[in-house]
């Protein structure tokens, strides 16, 4: 048992519904996801001794709402990838003996904004002084800025970028829980309204309400749970910059690359070992950057790779098989849902099930290429 090989995901579940849930506060989405995940593991809340979630509403609030008294707490809040980092940190804590059974929760009223913290305009932080004055307005105006440079450097076409949304819709069509399931064509994507050139509406993620949670524990207990254990074989995390303008190279994500290298090395796998892949897709270009950062494609080749059908149903590398943030759901911090789909695939219970995958890799993004987390999950101890 080296690295994180001694740690498993024993419970994993999402909220009952996703989408538009004005009858759920942010906190209630955490609570519902948590209850579902603990039940999925066949445990009770009394079994939980560690808690991890992002800063709002925060681990103290979530633990208290559930009646949990933690002896280990992680409030890492670095955007949508935070939950991947929580898994990594929980694995370390479990190995160190600081916690035995960790609950990781996500809930976000991203669409309805019920019980959500208010958006505050920054004016004196580096972002507030050097980006906000130029009219940035959330991820659609910042996360998107690098792609024209990528298009010029590598010849990525508008049609290839649009195809990312087409490929993921093909997965979503197989998933009854996906928000958008109707097939779309490249022409449909390019005909949807421009949000921030070169991005059209269908190249931007959804904004939804929802949540989910995970129960992480020691692999010594792998046979104790109702569902097949999912092994945490390797993990990685990194960060680059809180300001998109300060990204070192607009054609690649350093944080994606470094987090991936760490996770693959720890799991002692290469790209050829990967049967199933989730890459956080807030926008259509992010899977392109992710495929290249993880080494699945050479620089500049991920656009054609997707457009050639390799990542869609029937392709050699099933990618974003729930439909992704573009078609399944995207509450704002999507990472939890990417992990959930990896777990479902390895358990053999996904809506669009891949044929008996052994290794699933999850790449999470936080902020605008600001942070990254990577998990290598396995059906076997490795």
């Amino acid at each position: 048992m080296t690295g994180t090989r001694g740690v498993i995901i024993a419970g994993a579940a999402e909220t009952d519904r996703l989408g538009r849930l004005p009858d759920h506060s942010t906190l209630q989405l955490h609570v519902e996801g948590a209850l579902n995940a603990v039940a999925d593991a066949g445990l009770s809340l009394r079994d939980i001794d560690g808690i991890a979630t992002v800063s709002a509403p925060g681990p103290v609030q979530v633990a208290h709402a559930l009646g949990i008294t933690p002896r280990w707490i992680d409030g890492t809040g670095v955007g949508g990838t935070s939950f991947l980092l929580h898994v990594r940190h929980a694995a370390a804590a479990i190995r160190a003996g600081y916690a035995r059974t960790v609950l990781i929760t996500h809930g976000e009223s991203g669409r309805s904004r019920i019980g959500a913290s208010r958006y505050r305009m920054e004016t004196s932080s580096p972002v507030g002084q050097f980006e906000v004055p130029y009219g940035v307005f959330g991820p659609t105006t910042t996360f998107t800025i690098p792609v024209l440079r990528y298009m010029k450097e590598f010849g990525l076409t508008h049609e290839q970028l649009a195809y990312v949304a087409v490929a993921q819709r093909r997965w979503a069509a197989k998933n009854p829980r996906a928000a958008y399931r109707d097939p779309v064509t490249v022409e449909d994507v390019l005909a949807s309204r421009i949000v921030a050139y070169p991005f059209h509406l269908l190249e931007c993620c959804l904004v939804t309400d929802g949540g989910g949670a995970l129960v992480v524990t020691s692999a010594e207990r792998a046979g104790d749970f109702p569902k097949p254990a999912v092994w945490v074989l390797g993990t990685g995390e990194s960060s680059e910059t809180p300001m998109i303008s300060q990204m070192a190279d607009f054609t690649e994500s350093q944080a994606f690359r470094l987090a991936g290298r760490s996770a693959f090395a720890e799991a002692r796998i290469g790209t050829a070992d990967v049967d199933h892949l989730m890459i956080y897709d807030a926008f259509a270009h992010v899977p392109i950057y992710g495929l290249e950062a993880l080494g699945f494609c050479a620089r500049g080749e991920a656009g054609p790779f997707i457009a050639d059908g390799n990542t869609e149903p029937g392709g050699s590398l099933p990618l974003n098989t729930n439909g992704g943030g573009l078609s399944y759901t995207h509450t704002g911090m999507y990472g939890m849902f990417a992990i959930q789909e990896g777990v479902r695939q390895l358990r053999g219970e996904a809506a669009a099930q891949v044929a008996s995958p052994q290794i699933s890799v999850i790449l999470g993004n936080g902020g605008m290429f600001a942070t990254a987390g990577v998990l290598v999950l396995g059906r076997q101890p490795g």
């Binding site: 690098p146 024209l148 070169p198």
Partner: protein, 137 residues
């Protein structure tokens, strides 16, 4: 009142904004390793030295990347669609900016085109923005 966000300087960035008010784009350079950098901070991000000095940059840059935003931020309703750009200064560092004096169209905004700093009054500060090298009269 434009309604657009006005940057609030901090002690570390005040010399930058003082420069803008004087019509100069001021950057910092490390006195130890020589690297110029942006955004302003009193430590060199390349080598960790605290021995950093301010200097006046040329104000020349090239267009590195951009988007044309169709969903305006609060205060920018009259400007949409407008370009949000990142420029590469001749000295090396990059910064976000607005493009002025050119239509916000892909045809008018060619990557790597040369640009020159200008300053736009915004509340109590002057904001660096970039326009064509030889502005049309």
């Amino acid at each position: 009142m434009t309604g657009k966000p006005v940057p609030v300087p901090t002690p570390e960035t005040q010399p930058f904004w003082d420069g803008c008010a004087a019509g100069e784009l001021r950057l910092q350079r490390c006195a130890d390793c020589g690297r110029p950098y942006f955004y302003p901070r009193p430590v060199c991000p390349a080598c960790g030295s605290r021995d950093v000095v301010w200097f006046t940059a040329s104000g020349r840059a090239t267009l590195y990347s951009y988007v044309i935003n169709h969903r305006p931020a609060p205060g920018f309703e009259d400007d949409a669609p407008y370009a949000i750009a990142v420029v590469e200064l001749d000295e090396g560092p990059r910064m976000m900016t607005s493009i002025v004096g050119l239509p916000a169209t892909p045809e008018a905004l060619e990557l790597d085109m040369p640009l020159q700093v200008q300053f736009e009054r915004r509340g109590d500060v002057s904001l660096p923005v970039f326009g064509p090298l030889a502005p049309a009269r």
